[in-house]
Amino acid sequence: MRHRRTAVIGCLGTAAATLLPWLLSIPLAGQTRPGPSPFPAAYRAPRLADGHPDLNGIWQAFVTANWDLQDHEAQPGAHPEVMGAYGSGPAGQSIVEGGEIPYKPEALAKKKQNVERRMQVDVSNDKRWHDVGDPELKCYMPGVPRATYMPFPFQIVQGSGPAILIAYEFTSATRIVRMSGQQEAPNDSWMGWSRGRWEGDTLVVDVTGQREETWFDRAGDYHSGALHVVERYTPVSPFHLMYEATIEDPNVFTHPWKISFPLYRRMEKNLQLLEYKCAPFTEELLYDRFRKQAAR
């Protein structure tokens, strides 16, 4: 059975390889005109011993989607009277296919509310601990796909074992992509439960079981506990992966929607992920309202 499946996948892989340049010539959302693919037409990534493409490396996105997945102008950001240009955000074009996230009309109110309160925190009541504030502000793990387009590198650690590890510099978040076994997540988690498989040269990762409290960006884009994400990582040159994620959540969106952008291989000599443990940067904000006040 496994051999037949491999043969079928092999055929699909060949088909995909043939179609890939055509597919890549389809304009990415936000660009105005189609053109030839910028990537080598017949690129075939080096292989690991098990025959799968080698995705090892340190990768980073250069879209501004962490500010806003959709089209956005430059903005002053929060508290410009304190932050000046340090806190301001750049302009960016939407990485959403079709341009807009297909919210259900009644779900838009919460997005608006999220943005208005993105810099508020209130941890005075356990039951409302996560009610306000961008989780990124509080240094909570960002979930998938946000972790992919945060302005920090991440590292794919791929051997030939049953697990691929993805390590994110942001708050040392990690996730295990389980390449075999069909176990379910026992519980929701901040980085979700990831199961991977190969479709030709594409690593397809199915992510379920994410905590409902994560956001997609600083523009309040959000989801419910029913979120289902399918990611695709495809090597398209020695220095690029093409990343796509399909996002599905019938509680919040009218239909599934897709984002895509290239991931760039970081090329600096001896580069490594450094630590970005940001929890200590948030403790004053979160907890100092409960500290002992100086005697008057």
């Binding site: 051997g159 978040a173 409960f290």
Partner: protein
């Protein structure tokens, strides 16, 4: 094999086993497809063997079968959360019943050593070097903060330890066993060994290509690790630790502290994890401990340990302290001398 030589072999084996030596049995570790020794899997290091050999044991470095059985039975009784004796003052510290705990922590190591420390031969941490006045002051400040916290009167989050604040827990090298979540996942790729501890999540991606450490001015909570193979053994050296109080193992001096860890696959289901620490400003000589790692059942998994995200207790400690201050509670005077952390 003739019966005579077989029984001779068995006698030899029995002698070797009886000595309780740490010498790994002859085992050829599997290799990754690119030729590195394969350490991969999910591993558990829970044990009840103490770090230091207890004084009453004298020079005994290994327990007999009988002693081991008795020790484990007594320990299981002492440590179980299910007992309710001793009055409320004792019971309140036995949080939650037994089944929230890692059951493997009640077992001593299979080689029945009386301490995790294997060098020095007495199984104890070497004598300490007197610390500088500056370090004494820092330790005293931390001890005062601990006293406020233990009295239920922390002034701010700054009075809480790094583990309580969810900054580092058992993920900081050297890895010591604890009451639960004693799990590590090792994933290897060409040129790297990655060790992912469960508590708290992170990935220690160890390059094997001989590149230098980060420059001295770049410090990290978990240090900066470099690895190389010594035969079947992964040797990891870690430097560049931050200088915050509570980061360095046992309060050693960040500028002179050195830690070397060795990971050796000694059986299909076992890794020997060995660490050597040295700091002439803290200990009179280096010392080494050996902790076996056991492979977990493949059906068992490492799960996400998010910590900061739902750390409600920080607020409980602080709001509770403010209430108690209003009720006139104060911190008891600290009498114990300040010591090292961990």
């Amino acid at each position: 094999m003739s019966r005579h030589s077989l029984s001779l072999s068995l006698v030899v084996l029995a002698l070797v086993a009886g000595v309780g030596a740490q010498a790994p049995k002859k085992f050829t570790p599997p290799r990754t497809p690119w030729g590195d020794p394969d350490l991969q899997g999910v591993w558990n290091d829970a044990t009840s063997t103490p770090l230091q050999r207890p004084g009453a044991v004298g020079a005994k470095d290994v327990l007999s079968d009988e002693e081991a059985v008795e020790f484990q039975a007594n320990l299981a009784h002492d440590l179980t959360r299910d007992r309710r004796d001793g009055g409320n003052e004792v019971d309140v510290n036995r949080a939650y019943n037994e089944h929230w705990m890692d059951a493997r922590r009640l077992k001593i190591t299979s080689d029945r050593r009386t301490s995790l420390i294997v060098d020095p031969a007495d199984g104890r941490i070497p004598p300490l070097v007197p610390v500088s006045p500056e370090r004494q002051r820092a330790r005293a400040a931390r001890a005062d903060a601990n006293a406020r916290f233990n009295a239920g009167l922390p002034e701010s989050f700054r009075d809480m330890s790094l583990p309580v604040r969810c900054i580092i827990r058992t993920d900081s090298p050297p890895y010591l066993p604890t009451i639960y979540n004693n799990n590590f996942q090792i994933v290897q790729s060409p040129g790297y060994v990655t060790i992912a501890p469960e508590m708290i999540h992170s990935a220690r991606i160890v390059p094997l290509d001989g590149r230098p450490h980060l420059n001295k001015n770049l410090r990290q909570w978990l240090g900066d690790s470099r690895g190389r193979w010594d035969g079947p053994t992964l040797v990891v050296e870690t430097t560049n630790f931050r200088t915050d109080e509570g980061v360095i193992f046992q309060g050693a001096n960040p500028d002179t502290f050195k830690i070397t860890e060795r990971f050796t696959r000694v059986a299909a289901d076992a890794i020997n994890y060995e660490f050597t620490v040295e700091d002439p400003a803290t200990w009179t000589k280096p010392w080494t401990a050996l902790i076996p790692w056991n492979k977990v059942d493949p059906a068992e998994q490492m799960y996400e340990y998010a910590c900061h995200e739902d750390n409600f207790d920080i607020v409980h400690f602080l709001t509770g302290a403010r209430t108690r201050e209003k009720n006139g509670e104060t911190v008891p005077k600290r009498t114990a001398p300040a010591g090292g952390e961990r």
